[in-house]
Structure formats: structure tokens, C-alpha cells
């Protein structure tokens, strides 16, 4: 069981959270000319790193806030959790 420290609620168990994927993916800016490739990178292509991975989780059965978690994808160790609008 993962234990994730929600920046709003404190340490909670994994069951309360749902996963939102890679947090470093940025949506292309609105009203700007972008290529199909840019859009493809945003929607589909992922690095899926082995090791430190910055990702989004939602505290679904808690405060319902989206948060950022820095976690090792090989060991599942969690290094850091942040509010969604904070940068690492």
C-alpha cells in the first residue's frame, strides 16, 4: 500500500487517491498555431520514466484536490508531494 502525503490533508493511504498520469505534460496554449505533432505529444506520447517520475494524483475520497507527487517508478518510494500549482 502506498502512503501519500496530501499537502492539504496529511498522510493518507493509496485507496483514497486516483491517478492522473505524468504531471510534466503541458497542454499547448490556446489560440496558437500548433502542429499535429505538438497535439499528438500532448495527448498520446509519454516518456514513462523509470526512476523519479513527477505525476498527478487526485485525493478523490478526501479533499478532492489534484496534487503533484514525485515518486520512483522502480521502487514506489515517494520523495515529495506538492499542491497542483506548485513547481518542484
Amino acid at each position: 500500500m502506498l502512503h501519500i502525503k496530501c499537502p492539504h490533508c496529511g498522510m493518507r493511504s493509496q485507496n483514497e487517491f486516483s491517478y492522473g498520469g505524468d504531471a510534466t505534460i503541458k497542454r499547448p496554449e490556446l489560440n496558437k498555431e500548433i502542429s499535429d505533432q505538438d497535439w499528438n505529444n500532448f495527448v498520446y506520447n509519454r516518456k514513462s520514466l523509470r526512476g523519479k517520475h513527477l505525476e498527478l494524483w487526485q485525493h478523490l475520497s478526501g479533499c478532492r484536490q489534484w496534487i503533484k507527487v514525485e515518486r520512483d517508478t522502480a521502487t514506489h518510494e515517494i520523495f515529495k508531494t506538492l499542491k497542483a500549482n506548485q513547481d518542484i
Partner: protein, 418 residues
């Protein structure tokens, strides 16, 4: 190569089975190959076998980081089926079913293919309608499909929960009688033995550390056992695809996730079908040893750990017990995890890449094992002819660019959508 037969078995019995040939040799890498397959799992071994058999290309090496068949080939739940609705998936899988039926003879190795049938349970009228549609699509593609009502399902699997006051009552199910299971390790060993006998080098404990690409063309591969020159490389590395893609400066529509499976203690024969739960994600069959083999959802977050967490296992087994209450009486013998190459539309990729001489085989999600022969066959064709076969046209890498997604179930990495 020594043929496996009853006569050879008797002959070798006289010498106490001490004089059998090795099934394959432990090769050391040569300086140069025509084709290198990275990944010594089922798909890699099958690809090498069909390269040699169908295309007469035998200057081939398989490089494997660990040991042969030690990844997902040794961790799956051995289910073989072709109950797909979309033509691309259906025709590809049914071509594979044909190869499965002939495999033991073809490889001179008993892969214990057991076409016992699969039943997908339906738990509502709407789901019955969906299954009727899928069954009709299957039959249009010459795949056997039978829509069963509640009473018919009850006759086949009476141990499922048919009581009145359950949360997900069984309305019926869709059965593919020709689906089944096979002995997963035997498939790897059978392909390895035949490939080796035709001249393929199987090189284990050899990790790929980099690629030699220049002018948009592949020239070689760097490994922990030296650099090797090569004209063509096929990637068959399932859960390690993202790691190798990074070494090639590629980002691909695949995420690496963790999938668990488990077996109970062995019990007497009770279940002679593969059964899936329709109100969640749970599948079960009974192995020849008597263990109930079970699996279900991904753990749900990116992982390379090859071991899972309990919440997912508990969730999956809760579904199992809802479907077949007797399971709660059994003890769990083993649980394990494998790392899956989850593509974004839930369908695989077998294609060329923008790098000349580099071919990609990945994105198998939950269904890599059953695809082993068809994947090897089509990938060998793609590599040998430098063009995709009609059977794997739909599995292109560019479909994510063009919008021609193959969304059989409408979910890839996002399990929460279901």
C-alpha cells in the same frame, strides 16, 4: 536437432535420460548480424523463428537482458482467444488461433494448447445487447461465438453465483468455444529450440545499453557484452519499451504499468472454462495442476516494479468472490506482478519507425501472450520485407497521429475509464 517422439523417449530411457541434446545452445555474440531481435520473450523468440522459417533469414540474434521467457512470458495467465469486434483485431487474432492449433506439431514441442472455451459474463440487458453485437461481428469474421442465456451459462459453470439477491446478477454470456489456454513456458522453449536449430543465436544476460544510429539509419547496437553491427533491429521488449525508446530519442504512445496475477492452492478439477466477470475486470481459469489462475486490473500508476500492492489485488479478488463465492474458501498460493506496455488505445503497435532498419513491436497491454504466434509471424514479415503485412496494417504507429485509433474497449492506460 533431436526430434521429440515416443521412440526417442523410449530410446533415451535406457540411458537414464542422460544423453538428450541441449534444447538450445548458450551463444556468445558475433561481431555482426543481419537482424537482431531485442527481447527474448515469447514475441522475440517467435519473431526469430518465423524469420528463419518463413523468410530464410538465419543470421539472427536474440538479445535478452535477463533469461529467456523470464518477463511477461513467465507471468501471464495463459489465456488464448480471438473474441474481438474490430476487423483489425479479429483477423489478426484469428490468424493467431490457427497458428496455436498447429503449434505443438509445428514446433515438435507440446505446448499443451487446451481449447476449452472462454465465457464473458454479462450482467445487464444492455451488456447482452453489446455481446450479441460483438458475437455477430465475430461470426462475420469466421470466428466462433455463442450467445448464452442465464440458464445455459448455469449449466456450464454452476459454481458461479446464480442466487437472486446479488449486486451483479448473471444475465448470460458470450462464449468463444475455440478459445483456451496453453503452457506459457513451453511456448517460449518450443520457439527457442526451433529457432536455435535453424541457426539463430540466443544470447542471454546481455543488456542493450545504446544504439548506433547515423543518417537516420540503424548501424549497430551497444550491449553489456560488446558492440554488434547490424542491419535491422526488432524491438520486442514489452514493459521495457519506454526505456529503449528513450535511448533512441523517441517518445511513444505507451506507458509502462503494473499488472498483477495470482494463483490459489491446487484443487480438484472444478472449472473447465476460462471465465471473465462482466461488471469489472476479473478473469479466471484452472491450470492443469489444479490452481485457480486469476487476474484483473492494473495497479493504475506508472511502474517498473514487477511487484504489486494489495489494494488492487483485494479489489480484483472481491470481484472474483462476487462471481464465484467458493473462491473465498481457497488459500492464495502466489501473487506476482509484471510490467505492461500499455498503449493509449489499448491495441498493439507492430510497425516500422522513422529510423531505417528499426522496427517496433509493443503496446500489448493485457493481451500479449495470446498474440505470441501472430505477433511473431507478422513482425518477422515486417522486418524481412521492410513493409507491414495486411494483418498488422491496423497496428501502425502513425494511427495516433491520423486518428485511426483501434479502440476495441475504449481504454488504454486509463483504467478508471472502465
Amino acid at each position: 536437432m533431436q526430434k521429440y517422439s515416443i521412440f526417442n523417449l523410449i530410446k533415451n530411457a535406457f540411458s537414464g535420460h542422460q544423453n538428450w541434446d541441449l534444447a538450445w545452445k548458450d551463444a556468445t555474440p558475433k561481431k555482426e548480424y543481419d537482424v537482431i531481435i531485442i527481447g527474448g520473450g515469447g514475441h522475440g523468440l517467435a519473431t526469430a523463428y518465423y524469420l528463419a522459417k518463413e523468410h530464410n533469414i538465419t543470421n539472427v540474434a536474440i538479445i535478452e537482458k535477463g533469461w529467456l521467457g523470464g518477463g511477461n512470458m513467465g507471468r501471464n495467465t495463459t489465456i488464448i482467444r480471438s473474441n474481438y469486434m474490430h476487423d483489425d483485431n479479429a483477423l489478426f487474432s484469428e490468424f493467431g488461433m490457427d497458428l496455436w492449433r498447429k503449434m505443438s506439431q509445428d514446433l515438435n514441442y507440446n505446448v499443451m494448447f487446451s481449447p476449452r472455451g472462454i465465457i464473458n459474463l454479462a450482467h445487464s440487458d444492455a451488456q447482452m445487447n453489446v455481446f450479441a453485437r460483438r458475437g455477430n461481428s465475430m461470426r462475420l469474421n469466421d470466428i466462433d461465438a455463442v450467445l448464452l442465456n442465464r440458464e445455459e451459462v448455469k449449466e456450464i459453470i454452476p459454481m458461479a453465483d446464480f442466487s437472486e439477491n446479488v449486486r451483479f446478477p448473471i444475465f448470460g454470456g458470450l462464449m468463444q468455444p475455440s478459445a483456451g489456454t496453453a503452457r506459457h513456458d513451453a511456448v517460449a522453449w518450443g520457439y527457442a529450440r526451433q529457432a536455435d536449430s535453424m541457426g539463430v543465436d540466443i544470447i542471454q544476460n546481455c543488456e542493450v545499453t545504446g544504439f548506433d544510429v547515423s543518417g537516420g539509419k540503424i548501424n549497430g547496437v551497444r550491449t553489456s557484452r560488446g558492440d554488434i553491427k547490424v542491419k535491422k533491429i526488432g524491438l520486442c521488449v514489452a514493459g521495457s519499451t519506454n526505456i529503449l525508446a528513450e535511448k533512441l530519442n523517441m517518445t511513444i504512445p505507451v506507458e509502462t504499468h503494473l499488472l498483477q496475477a495470482c494463483v490459489t492452492e491446487p484443487v480438484k478439477p472444478v472449472l473447465d472454462k476460462v471465465v471473465t466477470f462482466g461488471a469489472g475486470h476479473f478473469y479466471i481459469s484452472q491450470s492443469d495442476k489444479g490452481e485457480m489462475v486469476m487476474g484483473g486490473d492494473l495497479d493504475g500508476y506508472n511502474s517498473y516494479a514487477q511487484r504489486g500492492n494489495l489494494p488492487t489485488l483485494q479489489h480484483v479478488l472481491t470481484e472474483g468472490i462476487a462471481m464465484m463465492p467458493f473462491l473465498s474458501k481457497l488459500k492464495m498460493l502466489r501473487t506476482w506482478g509484471g510490467i505492461m506496455d500499455m498503449s493509449m488505445d489499448g491495441s498493439p503497435i507492430i510497425d516500422k519507425t522513422h529510423i531505417e532498419g528499426l522496427y517496433l513491436n509493443c503496446g500489448w497491454c493485457y493481451g500479449g501472450f495470446k498474440a505470441t504466434p501472430a505477433s511473431g509471424w507478422t513482425f518477422a514479415h515486417t522486418i524481412a520485407q521492410d513493409r507491414v503485412h495486411k494483418l498488422n496494417e491496423g497496428y501502425s504507429l502513425s494511427r495516433f497521429n491520423t486518428g485511426h485509433l483501434l479502440d476495441e474497449k475504449g481504454l488504454g492506460t486509463k483504467t478508471w475509464i472502465s
